[in-house]
C-alpha cells in the first residue's frame, strides 16, 4: 500500500465521520447560511459536537501511532508502547492532581485538565532526560528502558496515592478520564495540542532513515554514520511531545500506539520512511473509526473510546498476524 492510499483513507474518514452520528441531521440545514448559527441545531451538531471530535481523533490517533513507532525503533522492541518511558504516567498524574483538587479554570479556552496533563507529560520527560541522557555520551537503550520503567512505576504509584487521598467525586472523574474521551466540543484544545504535536512532527521528519539504522543497534548505527546521541535525544523529545499532546487531548488511549505500527509494518514493510508517515495516517483513521463506533453503537448513550480501540484493534491485529503464517 502506498502513502497515497493511506492518505486517501484518512481523508475519507475525516470527511465522512462528521456526517454519521447518533442524531440524524440534514446536511442542507447544516450549511444553510440563512439560519443564524446560534439557532441552527444541525449546524452545531456538525461543527461543535462532531467535527472537533473527528479532528481530535485524528490528532490523538496520529500522535500515539507516531510515538509508538519511534519508541519501538528506539528501544529495539516491537512491543514498546508510547508510554514505556513514563510520559503517559506523568500525564495521568497531572490530570489526577487537578481532578482531585477540584481545580477549575480555563486558559485561552483550554481547560485545566489538558493543561495539567501536558505539564505532567513534560515533567516525566524532563526526569527521564536528566537521569538517562545527561549521563556521559548519551545512553544505551537498556538504561533508557530501565529509567523509563522506574519513572513510570514511580509516577503511577504517585497517581494511586493521589487517588487514595481523593474524595469519591475526584476518583470517579479520574476513572472517567482514564477511559479516554474525544468529545472536546471546541477547537481551542485541538489548536493547543497542535503546538507540541507540530514541534514533534518537525523532529519526526528528520528521523525515518535514522530509525532504520538505530534499530540495528546503537554501535551499528554509529558505524554507518548516525550521530546516535543527538538522534536519540530528538527522537525521545519528539515522541514524548507527541504522546503528551495526544494524552492531554484525548486521555490515555495508548493501545493505538502499540498496534498501529505493527499493522502498518505488515502492510508496507519495515522501512521507516514509509512506516512513520503511514502510521500517522492509519492511526488517525483508526481512531476516527473507533470513536465513530463508540458514539453510535449503543446510542443514545456512548461507550468510552478506549474500549472500542481494544475490541477492534486486538482481533484485527491477531487476524493480520495469523493470516501471514
Amino acid at each position: 500500500m502506498t502513502l497515497a492510499a493511506f492518505g486517501t483513507v484518512t481523508l475519507l474518514a475525516c470527511l465522512l465521520a462528521p456526517l454519521v452520528g447518533s442524531t440524524s441531521i440534514s446536511l442542507a440545514r447544516v450549511f444553510d447560511r440563512s439560519i443564524p448559527f446560534a439557532d441552527n441545531t444541525d449546524a452545531q451538531v456538525f461543527f461543535v459536537a462532531r467535527l472537533p471530535r473527528v479532528l481530535a481523533a485524528a490528532l490523538v490517533g496520529a500522535g500515539f501511532s507516531l510515538s509508538g513507532v519511534v519508541f519501538q525503533a528506539l528501544l529495539r522492541n516491537p512491543l514498546a508502547a508510547p508510554d514505556t518511558l513514563g510520559v503517559s504516567a506523568g500525564a495521568s498524574l497531572g490530570a489526577m492532581l487537578v481532578l482531585t483538587a477540584h481545580a477549575d479554570f480555563t486558559l485561552f479556552g483550554v481547560s485545566v485538565v489538558p493543561l495539567a496533563t501536558f505539564a505532567g507529560a513534560l515533567g516525566a520527560l524532563a526526569i527521564v532526560f536528566v537521569l538517562a541522557l545527561a549521563k556521559g555520551r548519551g545512553t544505551s537503550s537498556t538504561v533508557l528502558l530501565l529509567a523509563g520503567i522506574a519513572i513510570s512505576a514511580l509516577l503511577s504509584a504517585a497517581g494511586r496515592f493521589i487517588q487514595y487521598l481523593s474524595d469519591v467525586t475526584g476518583t470517579f472523574r479520574t476513572v472517567q478520564w482514564l477511559m479516554g474521551s474525544l468529545d472536546v466540543g471546541s477547537y481551542a484544545p485541538i489548536l493547543a495540542s497542535l503546538v507540541p504535536f507540530g514541534l514533534a512532527c518537525i523532529g519526526f521528519a528528520t528521523l525515518p532513515r535514522i530509525l532504520d539504522l538505530i534499530s540495528l543497534g546503537e554501535d551499528a548505527a554509529e558505524a554507518r554514520g548516525v550521530d546516535v546521541v543527538r538522534a536519540e535525544r530528538v527522537a525521545l523529545v519528539s515522541a514524548s511531545l507527541s504522546t503528551g499532546a495526544a494524552v492531554s487531548l484525548g486521555g490515555p488511549v495508548l493501545f493505538v500506539g502499540i498496534i498501529v505500527p505493527h499493522i502498518v509494518r505488515r502492510l508496507v514493510g519495515a522501512d521507516h520512511r514509509l512506516v512513520l508517515p503511514a502510521s500517522a495516517l492509519f492511526g488517525a483513521a483508526l481512531l476516527i473509526v473507533c470513536d465513530l463506533i463508540a458514539r453510535t453503537i449503543i446510542a443514545p448513550v456512548e461507550m468510552p473510546v478506549g474500549i472500542i480501540t481494544a475490541i477492534i484493534g486486538g482481533p484485527f491485529f491477531l487476524w493480520l498476524l495469523f493470516r501471514g503464517r
Binding site: T23, N40, T41, V48, V98, F105, V168, R295, E302
Partner: protein
C-alpha cells in the same frame, strides 16, 4: 432494706452480675434500642441527627459533613475504605453501612455487632428508611415525625407545580472542569430524577433507565432541554468562565433563553432529611413564576 444473710447476698450479687453480663453481650438491636451507633453514610448520619438520635452517634463517615454538631465526632472511613479496626475498637452496638459492604458485614458478624444495611434508592424510600432506622435505634417518635414532615413538604411542592407546564430539564451533577466533556446527568432512575419530577420538571433523559448517564455534546443538542440545572456540592467557587462552556451549544433552548442554572449545596446529593429543601430549591429554579 430487707436484711439478707451474707452468703445469699453474695449469691444474688453473682447472679445479678451474670444476668447483667449476659444482657450486655446481646446485640442490642434485638432490644430495639442502640446506644452506641456508628454511621458511615452521609444520608443516614443526617437522618440520625435530624430524628433526635444524634446523642447516640459515636462516630461518622469521612464524607459526612452535616450537621455541624456531628463534625467533632471521629471519622471512621466510608464506602471504599471503612476503618474496620477502629469501628470494632469503639464497640458500637449498631453500625449503619452500605448494603454492598459485604466484607465489613462479615467482620461485624464475626465480632457479633449488629448492623443496619442501607440501600440508596428513590425519593420515596427516604421516608421509609428514616422510619426503619428510627425503629432500629429506638427513636421511633422522632423518626416518624421527621418522615411525615418530609412527606408533607414534598406533597406541598408537588401541589404547587401541578398546574404549571413542565419544562424539559437536564439535571447535570458533574462534568470535566472547564469543558463539556463527560457530562454526568441524571437518567430516568434514582432520587435525583424523583426530585426533578416532584419539582415539576420533565426529565429530558427520562427514557433512559439508569441513575447516571454520561452525555456527549451531540446528545445535549439532540435532546434540546429547555432548562439545564447544574448541581455542585463542594465548597469551590464557580467562576464565570466555567459556566460559559455551555455557551458553545447556543442552539440548545436552555442556553439560548439563558436558563442554565447553577445550584450548589450538598443537600442535592445526599438523599437524606434535606431532600425537601433541595426539591424546593429545584422547584424554585424551574418555576420562578410560582411564589415560594
Amino acid at each position: 432494706m430487707v436484711a439478707i444473710p451474707g452468703p445469699l447476698r453474695l449469691r444474688a450479687k453473682g447472679l445479678g452480675l451474670i444476668v447483667a453480663i449476659a444482657l450486655s453481650l446481646q446485640p442490642s438491636a434485638l432490644l430495639g434500642e442502640a446506644r452506641r451507633v456508628i454511621s458511615i453514610i452521609p444520608a443516614t448520619t443526617e437522618m440520625l441527627f435530624a430524628m433526635g438520635a444524634g446523642d447516640r452517634v459515636i462516630a461518622i463517615g469521612n464524607y459526612d459533613t452535616y450537621p455541624p454538631e456531628a463534625q467533632k465526632l471521629p471519622k471512621v472511613g466510608a464506602l471504599i475504605d471503612p476503618n474496620v479496626e477502629q469501628i470494632l475498637q469503639m464497640r458500637p452496638d449498631l453500625v449503619v453501612i452500605y448494603g454492598t459492604q459485604t466484607e465489613l458485614k462479615r467482620r461485624l458478624d464475626r465480632a457479633n455487632i449488629a448492623y443496619y444495611s442501607y440501600v440508596h434508592k428513590g425519593l420515596s424510600d427516604i421516608a421509609q428508611t428514616i422510619r426503619s432506622l428510627g425503629m432500629r435505634v429506638g427513636a421511633d417518635a422522632g423518626a416518624n415525625a421527621l418522615a411525615s414532615r418530609i412527606e408533607q413538604q414534598l406533597a406541598d411542592i408537588r401541589r404547587r407545580v401541578a398546574s404549571q407546564p413542565r419544562p424539559k430539564t437536564l439535571l447535570v451533577f458533574g462534568r470535566e472542569p472547564g469543558s463539556l466533556r463527560n457530562i454526568d446527568a441524571s437518567g430516568g432512575d434514582g432520587f435525583l430524577h424523583d426530585m426533578l419530577d416532584a419539582a415539576g420538571g420533565a426529565d429530558v433523559l427520562g427514557d433512559i433507565h439508569r441513575q447516571s448517564v454520561t452525555m456527549s455534546t451531540e446528545m445535549v443538542l439532540a435532546r434540546a432541554p429547555d432548562v439545564i440545572i447544574e448541581l455542585r456540592y463542594s465548597k469551590d467557587d464557580v467562576n464565570n468562565a466555567d459556566m460559559s462552556a455551555w455557551n458553545r451549544l447556543s442552539a440548545v433552548p436552555a442556553v439560548k433563553n439563558r436558563r442554565v442554572i447553577l445550584l450548589t449545596g450538598e443537600e442535592f446529593v445526599v438523599p437524606g432529611p434535606r431532600v425537601a429543601a433541595a426539591t424546593r430549591r429545584l422547584a424554585a429554579a424551574l418555576h420562578p413564576e410560582v411564589r415560594w
